[in-house]
């Protein structure tokens, strides 16, 4: 009996002691939790705030997209000119006769080599050979650092141009393109201010103006061409650019001589001086000390 009571008391004591420990632990846990609770509360608040901001941004983005979908975009300047030039080439495919079987001639490779040597890096070149004699050579407007050249095979054959001389011919057109001479001829077109703009969904695109612009391409290429001042500027630029490179300068001078000879003697190319004025004056502007640099 005594043993039983002793044991009972002993175990009760242990239980109480354990409870105390537990309470103490609980209290300390509570205390720790209280300390943590504020931190946790703040973290969750911050997280919740961030989540709400994210949702707000997504909603804003969607709303903007819906707003924009209500508008119609005209192509931006960067893409428009490439599309317009290619559209003109497509519309005049049968007139220009560019869809024909031909050898590679090595023109692209040689022109690339020339441009790299002269420092024209990161340029995209597209050359389209044509069988037409009504166009001799032209650079059409395109995207930034991109060029579309049209080059008549009969024209270059008539002068028996070397690859280097052909590269000089293309280089002249590249400089004209850099100076935006072609685009300057189109600046009065009513479509020009519309490029890159947007209109409301219920409004109509000014396609009549666009078609007029494409028509003006033909005017510039077949009738108007360039003026005397522009020819002078380009000739001087070519002279400055090529003077340090004897072979290139000589090739350019040779091209000018052959061109002048062709235009003066061949009735088929009598129109040439109307598009690219004064092949005779180009020779005098170049004014070499000797006929060819030694």
């Amino acid at each position: 009996m005594k043993i039983f009571i002793s044991l009972f008391i002993f175990f009760s004591f242990i239980n109480v002691f354990a409870q105390d420990q537990k309470e103490e632990t609980q209290n300390s846990e509570e205390v720790e939790f209280n300390e943590l609770k504020d931190v946790l509360k703040n973290d969750q608040l911050l997280e919740s705030y961030k989540k709400k901001q994210k949702i707000k941004k997504q909603v804003e983005k969607k709303r903007k997209k819906i707003e924009e979908a209500k508008k119609i975009q005209y192509p931006t300047n960067d893409i428009f000119w490439q599309i317009a030039s290619e559209h003109w080439l497509v519309k005049n495919a049968q007139k220009l006769k560019w869809d024909f079987d031909k050898p590679s001639y090595g023109i692209g490779v040689n022109f690339k080599k020339t441009l790299v040597e002269l420092g024209f890096i990161e340029k995209k070149i597209k050359i389209l050979l044509i069988k037409n004699t009504n166009i001799t050579h032209f650079a059409l407007p395109s995207s930034k650092d991109e060029y579309i050249f049209v080059l008549s095979v009969p024209f270059i054959h008539s002068m028996d141009l070397s690859k280097r001389e052909i590269s000089m011919l293309l280089l002249e057109d590249l400089l004209r393109s850099n100076n935006s001479y072609f685009k300057d001829n189109l600046k009065k077109a009513s479509f020009i201010p519309l490029i890159g703009t947007e209109i409301e969904k219920d409004q109509k695109l000014q396609m009549k103006s666009y078609n007029e612009l494409i028509g003006m391409y033909s005017d510039v290429i077949f009738k108007k061409g360039f003026n005397f001042q522009q020819q002078f500027e380009i000739t001087r630029k070519m002279d400055e650019l090529l003077k340090p490179y004897k072979d290139y300068w000589n090739a350019y001078y040779s091209l000018c001589q052959k061109r002048n000879q062709l235009v003066s003697s061949n009735a088929l190319y009598k129109f040439y001086n109307g598009i690219y004025p004064s092949t005779v004056m180009q020779l005098s502007w170049l004014k070499p000390t000797e006929k060819k640099l030694q």
């Binding site: 893409i79 559209h87 497509v90 340029k123 070149i125 389209l128 050979l129 695109l205």
Partner: protein, 128 residues
């Protein structure tokens, strides 16, 4: 031996999935173009395609032209120049300026010639 078999299996698996490029879906990345019946630009056209068109690359043991891929679209098969293919769907003019493009009202002849333009261009890029 087990290690050897394991390495061999791994190699065969990776070659089939990544090495050959077969069955890969690619996208045409110019305004318009042509799938040709032979791997050169002036061969006849199987069909005209527009920007963003998906094409499946097929195996062609006879194809020694590294710059061309033998592709499938629908029931048609043919060759297309690799420079006109992208692994990701490109940004296309037709999609970005959908209303303007529709207003161009290109007829079938113009679509055909626009594709031919990219066959006829002599294209170079000047890199240092």
């Amino acid at each position: 031996m087990n290690l050897y078999m394991f390495i061999l299996t791994l190699f065969m698996f990776s070659w089939n999935v990544f090495g050959s490029g077969k069955n890969e879906v690619v996208y045409f990345n110019k305004m318009f173009g042509h799938v040709h019946n032979k791997p050169y630009e002036l061969s006849s056209s199987e069909t005209t395609i527009a920007c963003g068109y998906p094409l499946r690359i097929l195996e062609n043991k006879d194809n020694n032209f590294k710059e061309w891929s033998y592709v499938e679209l629908g029931e048609k098969k043919g060759f297309i120049s690799n420079q006109y293919l992208s692994k990701n769907r490109p940004q296309c003019f037709q999609k970005n300026y959908n209303e303007f493009y529709n207003e161009l009202s290109l007829d079938l002849g113009e679509l055909y010639y626009w594709g031919r333009l990219y066959d006829q261009y002599i294209q170079v890029e000047t890199k240092p």
